[in-house]
Subunit: 407 residues, 2 copies
């Protein structure tokens, strides 16, 4: 069995890739595996960034009764008619607890319910309390300073659609309506396996992938490194409990590139070898219904293949928009980008300039590409159909920075 | 004592604000309190989003020795001269463990150190292993497929400046260089106090402020609600342990607006009453050296005053850029915004349209403004000097959504 009608790819070890799958075909394979995970109920305090599984409607009117919109004196507006600085109207100061007696006012704080009989709130600036009476220096219209029952939100009104990603102030709105828990899409459980023997170079892929999985809303369900044995790797991939499995390293054409054969041992390899640079040794397949993404071990290539394929699947399973989550900037290319027709390129760039940003293409990393990670502010994706871009071209840069840093 | 040469503001309870401080003056007060907090050492795994307290230089060369940039056969390039499909060069397949013997090749995985004597990596595609020998079908240049010692990064090279906010892939780079911990700016400890008696309306300010403090990198050091007693509120403000204190509610002109007098009881009120709508009852002061920000209780006003003042202080203390952290979008106003000269307006807007975004101004909330929270995608800040903007004006919208959602 192989995905999308493609026959299972051959073993490429010590032979190299005979041909590579277009990026678009790999994305179709990913998209066919995206289904929104089931809902779970969580406390509002944990809602930040989560995706609503169900729409939310207002359970009650807001405000629940006519209330003061500002601090002041609750009055009968008609009783303030004719008041002026030179000829103030004098009313009795009474308690706000009961209904408002005639020729009386009651002090009220913003948000408090209007006493029966009152129909306006006079700001303190337009009155002066003197013992048990209040001098009023200006007339006020009926309804002024009053927030009517249900004026903000009526019971049953639609607040948020399913699929909304919670924004910072959303928990406040929901708490204000008395909602304590919400139904959200379950976070995808991601198993992260680093294939290969422990060697002199410390693992960079684990930390990169943990960060990116968190960014995309996934939960690391399990982590193991130094998996150099084919059978042990196969067993780690096949263990139950994950919504998807990422294997970093040993995806290439070397004799010790055990990740594709390990996947083939316990599942199916749907695609292996993608027309992408870097990241071309990526692959994907299934164990039962669980997608397994094979990522290259070279850190920059691992990052590229994650951004294009694995992140898309994680975001989609978690109910987020599956496309790139990065903020983008239009920028003028400071130098040309040369790319091979037929191969999509994931190219690191550095951004300079404020109002009119310029993107300086960095050299395509030859090795692990960790230097590119230090220097790059983002990346440009050159489609397979293009030979690149000339200097001066206006391009879209996907940014890795998390904040806008506006002045 | 009062901040910035301004005499302590008068008690406004039941009198109203005689005059209000310009937003710019309040921002100057905030900025005078911003100093970067001390450094703390944390594990790389906890680095996401943190701000570097010190610059980081590479502790070692990367790669530490000449290494294979791709999977293939390590060769002496000169021995492949003249190789072709029709007349392959045949070399001995040997072990990669020791130095490379002459007329020999050794299989190498990408990232592995080159054996002594080897000077190029021949991709598997250009060769075929046959038992103990390997047929080579094309010549290769010296250095091809080799990443030279220190080619990516040289020992001592500057990687990140102090003040860099860690990006998702940064921990991978640092881990790859063998760095396990980093020095970051300590997170500001924020005490959050909700002033006022428990009433029929559930508290919305607490959840809003908790979300925003987390967004801006602060840690909630303590939280208390329903503080209706002036002495109890003063005591809660003055307790040691916080880098700053936020008090939400009871900041206005009502008889029960105890927040400003409570602050005056144990510290100083530097400013109270700001030419801002909504959020005009905000104030700020000090208890010892600890800034205390008084925020209005009405949720939308609370949010506005937080975004302008409190968030700025939290971000600055934590080493982030103090300005708005929101991503912005240029947009065409779908309707006019009318604003009062002399008062800055914080106006909710809804965004529609994709490539050419339009911003629909929402009504300025009259009451708590929770409905505006549900409807708004962001806000526009109308400076005090402007009467507003005409329909069709191009404006900058600050967005609350956390993700770009590019397709």
């Amino acid at each position: 069995m192989a995905g999308d009608g493609v026959s299972a790819p051959p073993d490429v070890r010590m032979r190299g890739f005979a041909d590579r799958v277009p990026v678009a075909q790999a994305l179709r394979w990913i998209d066919a595996r995206v289904h929104r995970l089931a809902a779970e109920e969580i406390a509002l305090a944990a809602a930040a960034g989560r995706v609503l599984a169900r729409p939310i409607a207002a359970p009650a009117d807001l405000p629940p009764a006519d209330t003061a919109a500002l601090d002041g004196f609750a009055v009968r507006a008609a009783e303030t008619l004719g008041a002026s600085d030179y000829d103030p109207v004098v009313l009795n100061l009474t308690d706000a607890a009961g209904p408002l007696a005639s020729v009386s006012v009651a002090m009220l704080a913003a948000g408090a319910a209007l006493p029966a009989g009152a129909d306006a709130i006079l700001p303190f600036e337009l009155a002066q309390a003197k013992g048990k009476s209040v001098e009023i220096f200006a007339p006020i219209a009926e309804g002024a300073g009053v927030l009517r029952k249900a004026q903000d939100i009526g019971a049953g009104a639609a607040l948020f659609a399913a699929g909304r990603r919670m924004r910072p102030a959303d928990p406040g709105l929901l708490a204000g309506l008395g909602i304590a828990t919400i139904g959200v899409v379950r976070r995808p459980r991601v198993r992260l396996l680093i294939a290969g023997a422990k060697n002199a170079m410390p693992d960079a892929d684990g930390p990169i992938l943990k960060s990116l999985v968190a960014r995309d809303g996934g939960l690391i369900e399990g982590f193991a490194a130094d998996l150099a044995d084919r059978a042990a790797l196969a067993e780690a991939i096949a263990a139950p409990g994950a919504d998807l499995v990422l294997v970093a390293g040993r995806s290439g054409t070397g004799a010790d590139d055990i990740a594709p054969p390990a996947l083939a041992d316990i599942g199916t390899v749907a695609l292996h070898g993608i027309a992408l640079r870097p990241g071309g040794s990526a692959g994907m397949g299934l164990v039962g219904q669980v997608p397994v993404i094979l990522l290259p071990g070279a850190p920059f290539a691992c990052l590229a293949a994650y951004e294009l394929f694995a992140g898309r699947l994680i975001r989609g399973l978690g109910g987020r928009a599956p496309g790139f989550p990065h903020w983008t900037s239009g920028a003028e290319l400071a130098g040309k980008i040369v790319s091979t027709i037929g191969v999509a390129e994931f190219r690191p760039v550095r951004i300079s300039g404020g109002e009119k940003p310029r993107a300086e293409p960095l050299a395509m990393p030859e090795g692990g590409g960790l230097a590119a990670l230090a220097e790059a502010d983002g990346f440009v994706l050159v489609p397979a159909a293009r030979e690149g871009y000339p200097a001066g071209a206006l391009i879209r840069v996907y940014l890795w920075g998390e904040e806008a840093e506006t002045p």
